[in-house]
Structures are given as C-alpha cells and as structure tokens.
C-alpha cells in the first residue's frame, strides 16, 4: 500500500505527465486524472528521467540513483533492494494509481516539486486556526519512508544526566499533554520580492501558518533528561534524508540556544488540529518552536542532542538562516564571517480578506478587511490599515492571541470614497513598538522580509 506521504511525489508525476504528453495527444488535454503507466507508455526513458532522475545515458552511478531511487522507494513505501536490476522504463506495480495532488492539502502553490515546497495563497489563510490542508510545506530533503507512530522513537542525548529514548506513547504517558495554537513561519517567507533576487525557493506571502499543535513541552522533556551545566545549544536531527541519496548525510540539522529551548511554549508535537501530523508537516513527531524560523522546528524528529557549543549541523553554518550583522545595500556581496544566526522573526501581518485583485460589486463601497498579525517572541499591540498609499491610517480591532505565540486576528471595515483602484496596506506594530517597514531590508539570502502586505481592490 502506498504511504499517504508520498503524495507530493505523485503530484510531480501527474504534472510532468501532462506537460510531456500534451503535444502528442490532444485528447489527453481533457483528462484531469493521469497515470504513471501512461507516461511510461509514451516514452519510458524520458519518464524515468523526469520522475525518478534515472538517466541511463549520462549517469555515472547507474541508472537509478540518489533522490531518484529514494523517490521511487518513497512512492512505493519501501526500499527496493534489487533496484539495480530494474530495466530503464520499468514501473513498479505498486505505482499503478499514482495521480493527483498533494493528498490532504488544498489550494497550495507548489514552488518546487522535488523536494516538495508549497505555500498557501494569502486569501486561503483566512481561518483563525490554519487547517492542516492549508499549512505550508517546506522540505529540505526527502521525507522518511517510515512514519509509523507505533514504532517511532526520540532520543535525548549529549550533555544530559539521563540519556533517554522515548516512544510517542512514553511522551504521552510521562509528560503533560498540551495543545497550543502556534505560529510557524519560514525564515525565507517573502524572498520572492527581493531585488536583486536572492537564492532559494521564491516564497511570496504564504509560508506562514498558525495551527493547533498537541504534544508535550520541549522544556519538560529536557528537564527530565537533566541538563548538564555546560549545555548552551540544542541540535535537532530528523529522519529525512539528503537529496543526493547519500547514506547518513543530513539535509538539515538545526538547533536553538538552550534558553530558547526551555521556553514553556515549545512543543514536541504529535498532533495537528486534533489529528496526527500531516506527513509533509513532519509525521509522526516534530518540534514546534514558534516565533523563530520554521527550520528550528525540526520535522520527523528522531534525536535531540545537547551541546556545549553552537550547533554546527547542515544549514546552521555559512550563510544559511543567517543575515549580515550590519545593514547592506541591495546586491552587496557579504563575507560569510559577517553573517549572524537569525533568532526571533520580525513583526508582520497578512491581509486574508479581501483577496488581492477583488472587484467590488457595483454600488458597493465598503469592505470588511481582516487578517492576522504576529511578532516573533513578542505580541502585537496594533494593526493599522491604509487605503490611500500610506497617507492616512485606520486603526483596526485587534484580538488577543489564543495563547502566547499564536497570531492575532485584526479586522476593520473600510469605506472607499469613490470609484477606482485602491490598495489596502496593513501595518502591524509589536509590543516593543517596532513597526513593519514599507521597503525590504535586503540581505543576500532573502530572509526576514516583513514589509507591509498590500492587496488591490477595484471599486466599480
């Protein structure tokens, strides 16, 4: 049986199939549902190349390697011991029903299909609590094949008095289980607006979400493990594997200062909106460290290692999840040693209604604007709107957060004075009196874009 996980990869297959087959057979243009077998029927070698990266003619390491093999394995739900014997163009029987989209996700924009990275359009984030189907996906590597919650274990080791390996049942039984609504935002959300462009997935607005997470407090587990006095940093290891397929190579392993880890609002989570985690959001177990870049919230968490130095795993060092220590002009080349690790995310807001590009019905001159605002480790004190390009501002009604680190809902009805084109701008202010800027504070890797969200409205 296919793991639900895989559906991200099936989606790739479906789209590739469509793009590839259309010119040869117009009747297929009508077909929504596609099948891997049909793709292989058309041109097995190209199908191999596209879907699994099997490149018999050029590949120096055999025809099925790295991520290609892992992708096929993931799609089937098991490793393929005799993969080397499979002829080019061979489709494993288990893939017969591969078609469709990312199962359990709805309306997401796919930025990258291998690995799957997908964001949610702003107007689909209108719910107070983000449904699982609308929670963005950010993957650095290949999701694990095995996400069985019954056999999953988490190891706490390194500089602790009592190293331990816990099942999810152990976590449930030995620690208080809590549910919190927590904001997770990718550090690169908004990168797509950088000029000059910055390297990486070109996220626009939707790599942010605020779902209900259920689990145990990260701090409670660390206390039970008994931190030694010289611990300064955590190191998080997940079960995802590197895109190259290289055995034992980690795609990403980040951590946080121990003071942040001990904050009572962080969770080791096994529940998402009252159900198990979505496979693409880290099933069956993940960290949720709200308010900091999403990469601190390691998915598919297997090991927490306590260290007496700043963790130096993949994407902790170099320029990853770092910004220059000083402001730089757009396009500046900054020496690696001048970068510092991003900690709390900045104050930000998102208009979730109306959708940008809305044309009001004739005679309608008001609209109830609503959205969310959040501010890293802090809370929001106010959100203001402008409909006249920032000349004047309208205070909104702002709700308290459901709990610390939940985003806050704002709403306000605005009235447009006459027909024409308008932009609604939202500007949040946090409890430390920091406001969202109009312009982007450019940095080489495209992080921390908290410039104001603008939506356009035409009054007819």
């Amino acid at each position: 049986m296919l793991l639900a996980v895989l559906l991200g990869f099936k989606e790739v297959a479906a789209r590739d199939f469509k793009e590839f087959v259309m010119p040869k057979d117009d009747t297929i243009m009508e077909t929504e549902s596609v099948n891997l077998y049909e793709l292989y029927d058309k041109d097995p070698r190209l199908a191999d190349k596209i879907i699994f990266g099997r490149t018999p003619c050029k590949n120096r390491r055999g025809f099925l390697k790295g991520a290609g093999l892992a992708t096929m394995g993931t799609m089937i739900g098991a490793a393929i011991p005799f993969s080397r014997n499979m002829p080019a163009g061979f489709v494993p029987l288990a893939l017969a029903d591969a078609h469709g989209m990312i199962e359990g996700k709805d309306g997401l924009t796919v930025l990258n299909d291998r690995p799957v990275n997908a964001e949610t359009p702003a107007h689909l984030l209108d719910d107070a609590v983000t449904p699982t189907s609308r929670h963005f996906i950010r993957n650095n590597g290949i999701p694990p094949e095995d996400m069985n919650p019954e056999t999953w274990t988490l190891t706490i080791d390194g500089l602790v008095q009592n190293p331990m390996t816990l099942s999810i049942a152990d976590l449930r039984n030995n620690f208080e289980v809590v549910t919190k609504q927590l904001t997770i935002e990718c550090g690169g959300n908004g990168r797509g607006f950088f000029d000059p462009p910055a390297k990486g997935n070109q996220w626009t607005y939707g790599a942010v979400a605020c779902s209900n997470w259920t689990g145990v407090r990260y701090a409670d587990v660390l206390k039970a493990a008994g931190l030694k006095s010289n611990v300064i940093y955590t190191a998080h290891v997940g079960a995802d594997s590197h895109l190259s397929g290289e055995e034992g190579k980690l795609p990403i392993s980040r951590g946080v200062p121990i003071e942040k880890a001990m904050d009572p609002n962080n969770l080791i989570a096994f529940g998402m909106n009252g159900a198990p985690l979505h496979p693409m959001n880290g099933a069956p177990l993940r960290l949720v460290i709200p308010g900091w870049p999403g990469s601190c919230s390691q998915k598919w968490i297997k090991r927490i290692w306590l260290r007496d130095q700043v963790h130096d795993g993949p994407k902790m060092t170099g320029k990853a999840y770092r910004v220059p220590e000083y402001p730089v002009a757009p396009g500046t080349k900054v020496p690696t040693e001048d970068f510092e690790i991003i900690e709390a995310m900045p104050v930000k807001s998102l208009i979730t209604f109306p959708e940008t590009g809305t044309i009001l019905d004739e005679g309608q001159d008001t609209v109830q604007v609503r959205g969310h605002a959040w501010a890293g480790d802090d809370a929001i004190s106010s959100v203001d709107l402008s409909i006249d390009f920032g000349v004047s501002w309208i205070r909104t009604t702002l709700q308290d957060p459901a709990n610390p680190y939940a985003w806050q809902r704002f709403s306000q009805t605005v009235k447009f004075p006459e027909k024409g084109y308008y932009e609604i701008w939202a500007r949040a202010t946090d409890t430390k009196n920091r406001m969202q800027p109009f312009a982007i504070a450019w940095n080489p890797k495209g992080y921390l874009n908290n410039s104001m969200h603008r939506v356009s409205v035409i009054v007819a």
């Binding site: 259309m22 596209i50 590949n59 120096r60 790295g66 590197h242 895109l243």
Partner: protein, 115 residues
C-alpha cells in the same frame, strides 16, 4: 449567427491547441529550460537530485551561480562536471537565470503572444 459563433469557437480552439502544442513541445522535454549551450549539462546535472523548478525560480549573477555550483559539488554530493561542462552550465545559468531573469521574461512574452 450560431454558425459564425461555431466557426469562431472552432478556430479559437484550433489556435489554442496549436499554441499549447508548440509551447509544451518546447517545455516538456526540458522542463522549461530554454534552448542554448549548456542546457543539456544543466538538465542532467541538476535533475537527479532536485526538480528543475528550483533552478528556474532563481535570478543570480555569475558569482552567485559559481558559488552555488561549487557548493553543490563540495557539500551537496553533485558529481563534479568536466571543466568544459562546468563552464557551459555556469554560462547558461547566468544567461537565462541571471539577475534580469531572462528566461522568465521569455516565458511571459510567449504567454502574451499565445493569448
């Protein structure tokens, strides 16, 4: 009236199919990589580990592409290309996926003409 409408509809459909066909014929095999020296090298080197969507989203200058390719070889497990392949990739990427995002502009033009 109905006949004229029908003919117009038929004509539009044929045009649309032709436009769609040529567009996909270009894009399908190379996953959107425009024709040019270095396309094959980019396709075969990048595709085994990640989608070309990760490539075609970018807009980097020569130095950043160079750094990216070095990082792919040194840290991300990309088999080291032959020197001339390396150069072809770098030039191709800088040309089409440079700061001006030439390839994206070409896509927009194509879309505008087929509408």
């Amino acid at each position: 009236m109905t006949l004229i409408r029908g003919l117009l509809f038929l004509g539009a459909t044929v045009c649309w199919c032709l436009a769609a066909s040529t567009g996909y014929a270009d894009d399908g095999e190379w996953r959107g990589l425009p024709e040019g020296d270095g396309r094959e090298e980019v396709f075969y080197q990048c595709q085994p580990c990640h989608s070309l969507k990760l490539v075609t989203q970018q807009g980097l200058d020569h130095d950043d592409w160079k750094e990216t390719l070095e990082w792919m070889v040194e840290e991300q497990g990309m088999p080291e290309p032959e020197p001339e392949e390396w150069l072809a990739m770098l030039e191709y990427l800088t040309r089409f996926y440079g700061r001006d995002r030439l390839a994206a502009g070409m896509e927009e033009n194509k879309a505008a003409h087929s509408n």
